[in-house]
């Protein structure tokens, strides 16, 4: 049966694949995504496996692809993502791909290297250009100073480091040397200081900033540099200056002394710069073209490479049967899909051109199969929240379909506001209607993923919250008056409407149902709007909400117990039905079922006339347990006797649950009828030879070891003891735990009311034009607080509590949750085969 109510029937299969066809068959199975391969070589080292070379080649290919991707991203070229899903390429194609990637990588490396060299050249030439330009000014200044000095001998100190024209040179006794270079601007002060100290002030430094920042060829950063020129005398100072320049990583350039030579050099430099620019441009163009061509295909290549890797990983798990020249695989697959798997195998064999067909052979086994629930996009969200607690045991009842409605509904009981529910519904509607676009965007934000994954849950939560909001009559903390109210204030003394004198007499009056509640009947849909205006609203509604919590809680627990009998019948555990299920039901019904019935009866029978004598149900329940009775609390004849009977019935159930099953099982075992009951194996069919498992490795026992154990009475008895205590105490404590439905609904209603009263109401009372502007601003604040606090925070809180109610209170009645998940080999999620993580 392929439905969601219990997990699918699985079978262990053996596949016999011809060596040539193995690759194609595994590829087809990967596209299908319905088999989970078992590792038949768990003891083998990863480096000793058969296809380790191919895996290594795939890793190499992926590394090259990643290098290309980085280059593409650096240039900002968009990568085309057509959403295509190419088939896994055949092994021949893999060689072609490898060659393509190798070629691309080499080309890119070459281009990058060339670019770097060119840029370095360019940098040198640019710096030289700047030097030539700036030193021109230095020498001109030197001219002026020198001329001045010639006419003013007292200023000779300054003029020492200066060069002159050729004419001056012949008149100068001292020949000064100079070096010119470029240094990073930030280092200039330190450079100057070092020069001053080392050369004892006998060198002269002039520097000028280069206006435009220059590009560093290696890192690509923009650096500010300055030109400097140092004048010195003598060889010693020259070597010292050169060493200091080296230390500060300043680049020195040969600068000609005469202006004519400098001008020539400048022109030469300019032409060379032009040429270099052209070459650089062409290199960049070439690189861009190569990258654009690669960007078109890179996503597809990634998928192809990952698929190849996945196939080889899987092939590594298979066993080679040397004598028969075929590979043997063991896998779990759903019984329902055996036909599709056979077809996939046939397709694979045809594609590879092999003549020998692949064989699929079902095997008998005592191992527990994985749990496979066939979900669609709607039910997957609910299945996830159930699986988060524990994966269902193989073929037990799946709580997920029940949670589809019960989860949003219990959330809505706690959240109960029409306005907030409506906003929640709209948000979820947006996520659902735009799901294809949002999925295509591949947003990697974890929080968004959580909300997007639960979009159907949020949709239903919003819908049900709107319904419960209407019943609670709560729209952003205001009430709706869809019908006429059932309360018409009348004076109980006169049975006529209140007169002004009576009203002036007191600040507030409590309406008497006798006088003010018309005999017509209650408000037809939900709570009466008059309660929203009353000051004792909380006291009155507490009774209502608490009773609702208890009623729904006991209903859900009862449903849980009923699901356990479905399990017992499926696994043919008659013992459990008679000795666990029946006493469980009686216990629950006798005490808590009786309480629910009392609640309903009290609502129906007692009217305002009995307001003084109506029984208190809670005290009644406590007294029932203590076998006491307060005559004022009794309300039907024979109540004491009936209640005593119920309590004794419930108490009898305890030893019934506790003692009978262990002793019965021991009795069975003594007479040789004992069967180990705990492992469900409902799928032992064989439609073929029924070969036993030949290549099964015994060391892989990660899951249940199904060998029949000896009957250990102590174990069984202890287990039963725990189970009984858990159930009985659980009934009581879980019923009380359901009161959180009341608590959260009260908190939500109060928060929303306080927000309105303290924020909007104040703004609405301001008069005049100013009031309009203030109201607009205050509304913005109120809206933000509503969304952030009331919807997001309260929503998350209610979600968590509902989750707890399902996981603990509901699941403990029937759920085992010891299974392991079916993880088929599929190409849908290839991220586990990438080398990134």
């Amino acid at each position: 049966m392929g439905s969601l109510f219990r997990s699918e029937e699985m079978t262990l299969c053996q596949l016999f694949l011809q060596s040539e066809a193995a690759y194609a068959c595994v590829s087809e199975l990967g596209e299908l995504g319905l088999v989970q391969f078992r590792d038949l070589n768990p003891d083998v080292n990863a480096f000793q496996r058969k296809f380790v070379n191919e895996v290594r080649r795939c890793d190499e290919m992926e590394r090259k692809l990643r290098f290309l991707e980085k280059e593409i991203k650096k240039d900002g070229i968009p990568m085309l993502d057509t959403g295509d899903n190419p088939d896994a390429p055949v092994p021949r194609e893999m060689i072609d791909l490898e060659a393509t990637f190798e070629k691309l990588e080499n080309e890119m490396k070459e281009v990058n290297g060339n670019t770097e060299a060119l840029k370095r050249n360019y940098l040198e030439l640019t710096e030289l250009k700047h030097i030539l330009r700036k030193t021109q000014t230095f020498f001109e200044e030197a001219e002026i100073h020198h001329v001045q000095a010639m006419h003013d001998p007292s200023l000779t100190e300054e003029n020492f480091g200066l060069l002159g024209e050729e004419s001056q040179r012949s008149g100068q006794a001292l020949r000064l040397g100079f070096v010119a270079g470029v240094i990073v601007r930030e280092k200039i002060p330190a450079f100057e200081r070092m020069l001053w100290r080392v050369c004892r002030g006998n060198v002269f430094l002039r520097q000028a900033e280069i206006d435009t920042p220059l590009e560093d060829p290696v890192t690509g950063d923009q650096v500010n540099k300055s030109v400097f020129i140092i004048f010195f005398q003598g060889e010693q100072l020259k070597s010292r200056v050169k060493k200091i320049c080296e230390g500060f990583r300043a680049t020195l350039y040969p600068c000609p002394e005469t202006p004519a030579e400098r001008r020539e050099m400048a022109i030469g430099v300019m032409t060379r710069i032009e040429d270099l620019n052209t070459v650089l441009g062409q290199t960049q163009d070439h690189r861009h073209r190569v990258l654009v061509a690669a960007a078109r295909n890179i996503k597809i290549w990634f998928i192809k490479v990952r698929k190849i890797k996945a196939i080889y990983h899987t092939l590594n798990m298979l066993n080679l049967d040397v004598t028969q020249k075929c590979l043997i695989a063991e896998c779990w697959c759903p019984v329902q899909d055996l036909d599709r798997i056979q077809q996939a195998l046939r397709r694979g064999t045809e594609r590879s051109g092999s003549s020998v067909p692949s064989i699929l052979n079902r095997m008998k086994t005592k191992e527990v199969p994985p749990t496979y629930n066939r979900n669609n996009k709607f039910t997957q969200g609910f299945q996830n929240i159930i699986d988060a607690y524990g994966i269902s045991t193989y073929q037990e009842v799946n709580p997920a379909p029940w949670a589809i409605i019960s989860f949003p509904f219990l959330f809505a009981v706690m959240f109960g506001d029409f306005g907030h529910g409506f906003i929640m519904f709209l948000v979820a509607l947006y996520l659902v209607t735009r799901e294809k676009q949002l999925q295509a965007m591949k947003i990697n934000n974890e929080i968004f993923d959580m909300f997007f994954g639960g979009r159907y849950i949020i949709l239903l939560m919003g819908l049900f919250s709107m319904y419960t909001g209407l019943i609670y009559n709560d729209v952003f903390s205001k009430s709706l008056k869809l019908f006429d109210s059932s309360w018409d204030p009348h004076d109980p003394q006169t049975f006529k409407p209140y007169v002004a004198d009576t009203l002036k007499g007191s600040t507030s009056l409590q309406l008497d149902p006798n006088a003010s509640f018309p005999k017509g009947g209650p408000y037809p849909f939900g709570l009466d709007p008059v309660w929203a205006l009353s000051t004792n609203k909380i006291t009155a509604l507490n009774s209502f909400k608490m009773k609702i919590s208890v009623i729904f809680g006991i209903c859900q627990m009862f449903l849980g117990v009923m699901l356990s009998i479905v399990n017992h019948r499926f696994f043919k555990r008659k013992v459990n039905i008679y000795f666990e299920f029946i006493p469980q039901v009686i216990f629950l019904a006798a005490i808590f079922g009786y309480l629910v019935v009392e609640i309903f009866v009290k609502w129906i029978i007692f009217t305002w006339r009995d307001a003084g004598t109506a029984p208190n149900l809670l005290i009644g329940l406590i007294q029932m347990f203590l076998f006491q009775s307060d005559p004022k609390n009794l309300w039907y004849s024979g109540q004491v006797g009936f209640q005593t009977f119920l309590v004794i019935l419930a108490v009898i159930c305890i030893p019934w649950m506790l003692l009978i099953k262990p002793f019965y099982l021991r009795h069975q075992q003594k007479f040789g009828q004992y069967q180990y009951q705990e492992v469900p194996t409902g799928n032992l069919l064989d439609d073929s030879d029924g070969e036993e498992v030949v290549y099964h490795s015994d060391s892989e026992r990660s899951h249940y070891d199904p060998e029949p154990e000896e009957f250990n009475f102590g174990d069984v008895f202890t287990h039963q003891c725990i189970h009984t205590i858990e159930y009985c105490l659980g009934c009581v404590s879980h019923t009380a735990s359901y009161l959180r439905l009341w608590a959260l609904s009260l908190a939500h209603a109060q928060l929303s009311e306080v927000l309105w009263n303290m924020v909007m109401r104040i703004a609405l009372q301001i008069e005049g034009i100013a009031g309009a502007f203030v109201l607009a601003g205050v509304f913005a604040f109120w809206a933000c607080a509503t969304v952030i606090v009331l919807i997001l925070m309260e929503g998350l809180s209610a979600f968590l509590h509902t989750l707890r109610l399902h996981w603990v209170e509901f699941n403990s009645k029937f759920y085992d949750g010891q299974g392991y998940k079916f993880h088929p080999f599929s190409f849908e999620d290839l991220s586990e085969y990438s080398i990134e993580d």
Partner: protein, 91 residues
């Protein structure tokens, strides 16, 4: 005077009865081959059960109220003047 006891009861029971009992039967025939048939039926039945029970509790709670709302006097005057309620039997 519109009957406020029987009429809402009949209407709501009828409505959720259709949703919870009749619709699943219709779905049984409409969605014969679909794998989601069971889920749809279960959803309809549980929705009907939960929503009907919730409405019923609210209805029964207010059927025979033991206490009434406590209102400010000014509010009582306002209600008497503005709200047009069910006419009360002049007892």
């Amino acid at each position: 005077m519109v009957d406020r006891k029987a009429l809402p009861l009949v209407i709501m029971t009828g409505f959720w009865g259709v949703v919870g009992i009749i619709l699943p039967i219709i779905v049984h025939f409409l969605m014969r081959g679909s794998p989601n048939k069971g889920i749809v039926q279960l959803m309809l039945m549980m929705t009907a059960a939960c929503c009907y029970l919730f409405w019923l509790c609210a209805f029964l709670f207010q059927l025979n109220p033991l206490i009434g709302p406590q209102l400010d006097s000014g509010l009582i005057a306002f209600i008497q003047a503005e709200w047009e309620n069910n006419p009360v039997n002049p007892n």
